[in-house]
C-alpha cells in the first residue's frame, strides 16, 4: 500500500501589508489547482490574509523588514496552510469569540480576523517552535 502523496509549495514575504496581495494570489492559485470551489477559495484566501495581517500588526508591530513564511501542504483531502514568523507570540485560540450582537450594539472595531479564520477553516492550531511561531490552518477538500 502506498501512503497518500504529499504536495508542498512555499512563499516568503517581508512583513509589509503591501505584500498581502502576493500571499492571496499564491494561496488562491493553489486552492484552485487543488479543486476548491470559488467560494472556498475566497474564504481560504481571507483566512490567510487575516493571519498575515495579525502577524504584521501584532507580531512585528509594523516593522517592515521581518519575514513571514507561508507553506501549503496537501495530503489526501487535507489542505494545510502553515504560517511561521519570529515576532511576538500571538495565539489566535486565546482570542475570545466575539458576540456579534453585542459587537454591533456597541459599534466595536477590530478582533474579527481571528473569528473569520476560525469560522472559515476546519482547524486552527498554534505552536511555538523554539523562536518561531507556527500557525496551522486546515481546510478539508470536499
Amino acid at each position: 500500500m502506498t501512503a497518500a502523496r504529499t504536495y508542498r509549495a512555499a512563499l516568503s514575504i517581508p512583513s509589509q501589508t503591501e505584500r498581502l496581495n502576493d500571499v492571496r494570489e499564491f494561496v488562491a492559485g493553489l486552492a484552485r489547482t487543488h479543486g476548491f470551489s470559488e467560494d472556498d477559495i475566497n474564504k481560504i484566501t481571507i483566512a490567510v490574509d487575516e493571519a498575515c495581517t495579525n502577524i504584521i500588526k501584532h507580531g512585528y508591530n509594523y516593522s517592515p523588514d521581518e519575514q513571514i513564511d507561508v507553506e501549503i501542504i496537501r495530503t489526501g483531502a487535507a489542505f494545510e496552510i502553515v504560517i511561521a514568523d519570529r515576532g511576538k507570540q500571538f495565539d489566535p485560540n486565546a482570542i475570545q469569540t466575539p458576540d456579534m450582537k453585542d459587537y454591533f450594539q456597541h459599534y466595536r472595531r477590530g478582533g474579527l480576523g481571528v473569528f473569520l479564520m476560525k469560522k472559515i477553516m476546519d482547524k486552527v492550531e498554534f505552536d511555538l517552535h523554539r523562536d518561531r511561531n507556527v500557525l496551522r490552518m486546515i481546510k478539508t477538500l470536499p
Binding site: T17, E18, L20, N21, R24, E38, D39, N42, K43, T45, I46, D49, E50, T53, I56, K57, M100, K101, F104, Y107, R108, R109, G110, L112, G113, F115, L116, K119, I120
Partner: protein
C-alpha cells in the same frame, strides 16, 4: 500600482456615493478612511457605498465601516451599501453585518430608502 480607489459622486437628495474599486485590505484601508473622514468633515451624512467594483474585502476593510457608522447615524445619516458581488457579500454575511447595515442590491434602491427629507 492602483489596487484600491474611492471615487466620490454626489447625487440627488443630498446623497453622496462612494464608489469602491479594487481590493480593500489592511494595506488599502487608509484610502477609505480618508474618504469617510472627508464626508464627515463636510457634514455629509447620507452615504451610499457602491461596491460594484470592489473585488475583495478582509476584516480590516469591514473595520472601517464600523469606525464611521456611529458618527454618521448620530447625525441622522446612514451608510448604505449596494451592488456587492456575491463574493464580497458572503464575507459581510459571514460576520452578520446585514444585522447592522442596510445592504441592498442596487444603488437606486439605497437612494430610495433615504427618502426625500434631505
Amino acid at each position: 500600482m492602483s489596487e484600491f480607489k474611492v471615487t466620490i459622486r454626489p447625487r440627488d437628495n443630498n446623497i453622496h456615493v462612494l464608489e469602491l474599486k479594487g481590493y480593500l485590505d489592511a494595506h488599502t484601508t487608509p484610502v477609505l478612511e480618508d474618504a469617510f473622514q472627508q464626508m464627515l468633515n463636510e457634514k455629509k451624512y447620507r452615504l451610499i457605498v457602491n461596491c460594484r467594483e470592489l473585488t475583495y474585502i478582509s476584516s480590516a476593510g469591514l473595520g472601517v465601516f464600523m469606525a464611521f457608522i456611529e458618527d454618521v447615524r448620530a447625525n441622522t445619516g446612514d451608510i448604505k451599501l449596494s451592488d456587492m458581488t456575491p463574493k464580497v457579500f458572503n464575507i459581510f454575511d459571514l460576520l452578520g453585518f446585514p444585522m447592522l447595515y442596510d445592504i441592498v442590491p442596487a444603488e437606486e434602491e439605497a437612494a430610495h430608502k433615504f427618502g426625500n427629507n434631505a
